[in-house]
């Protein structure tokens, strides 16, 4: 497995685990009917910081195992894979952005709009890294 693929696996694991916990917590907030009072923004900032820290640690571990590959620039196949995966993920981002715009227009509670938009960002990233892994495995 190449450094880029390991890096994609590390990123996808970080996003799924950390933000999986965050959205699980948000689901509890919805079930408890506390969406108008719960201070989700501070929790959101905390989880974003945690994801950055974990991502840095995981990427450093992956890079330390293959420093030559980690320091090398992407070659043409890796650039193509990055572009194709980003292209797919872009659709997720557009759909989420349009949904958020609709939520604002319909005056939906900020809790749902903010978390919906954040979920869009997370899903976009997960789709991008998943796309990279598929292209690395199946060919491009």
């Amino acid at each position: 497995m190449s450094f880029r693929e390991k890096s994609a696996w590390a990123s996808i694991a970080t996003f799924l685990v950390i933000f999986g916990v965050y959205f699980w917590e948000m689901a509890d907030v919805i079930v408890a009917g506390e969406t108008e009072t719960y201070p989700y923004y501070s929790l959101l900032v905390g989880f974003v910081i945690a994801s950055i820290v974990v991502e840095i640690i995981l990427q450093a571990i992956v890079a330390a195992r293959v420093p030559d590959e980690a320091n090398a620039a992407r070659d043409e196949r890796e650039k193509l894979i990055d572009l194709k995966a980003t292209y797919i993920a872009f659709y997720v981002l557009v759909i989420g952005a349009l949904a958020a715009a609709g939520a604002i227009a319909w005056d939906i509670q900020p809790f749902y709009t903010a978390n919906g938009l954040f979920l869009t960002v997370v899903v976009t990233e997960v789709v991008k890294y998943a796309g990279e892994i598929v292209y690395f495995r199946r060919g491009v």
């Binding site: 190449s2 590959e69 043409e76 196949r77 491009v140």
Partner: protein
């Protein structure tokens, strides 16, 4: 995706050129070993520039390395 219509003789050419490794070829043409492996397996069709570099490494014309097989 896999099953490209462009077939190649890279594996045979590596063998005939002192059993050159994928890593050695990758370093000479400026890509990763995994990309050489993907090209060999038909999972990636290289750019024209990389294709010419591969042919140059083996000292053969391009059509001796790659051939198009219509599906």
């Amino acid at each position: 995706m896999g099953g490209s219509a462009i077939k190649n003789e890279i594996r045979r050419l590596r063998f005939e050129n002192g059993e050159m490794t994928q890593q050695q070829l990758a370093e000479r043409i400026g890509v990763t070993r995994q990309t050489v492996n993907a090209i060999e397996q038909g999972k990636y069709s290289p750019s024209l520039e990389v294709a010419f570099r591969i042919a140059a490494v083996f000292g053969v014309p391009l059509e001796h390395v790659f051939r198009y097989v219509p599906r």
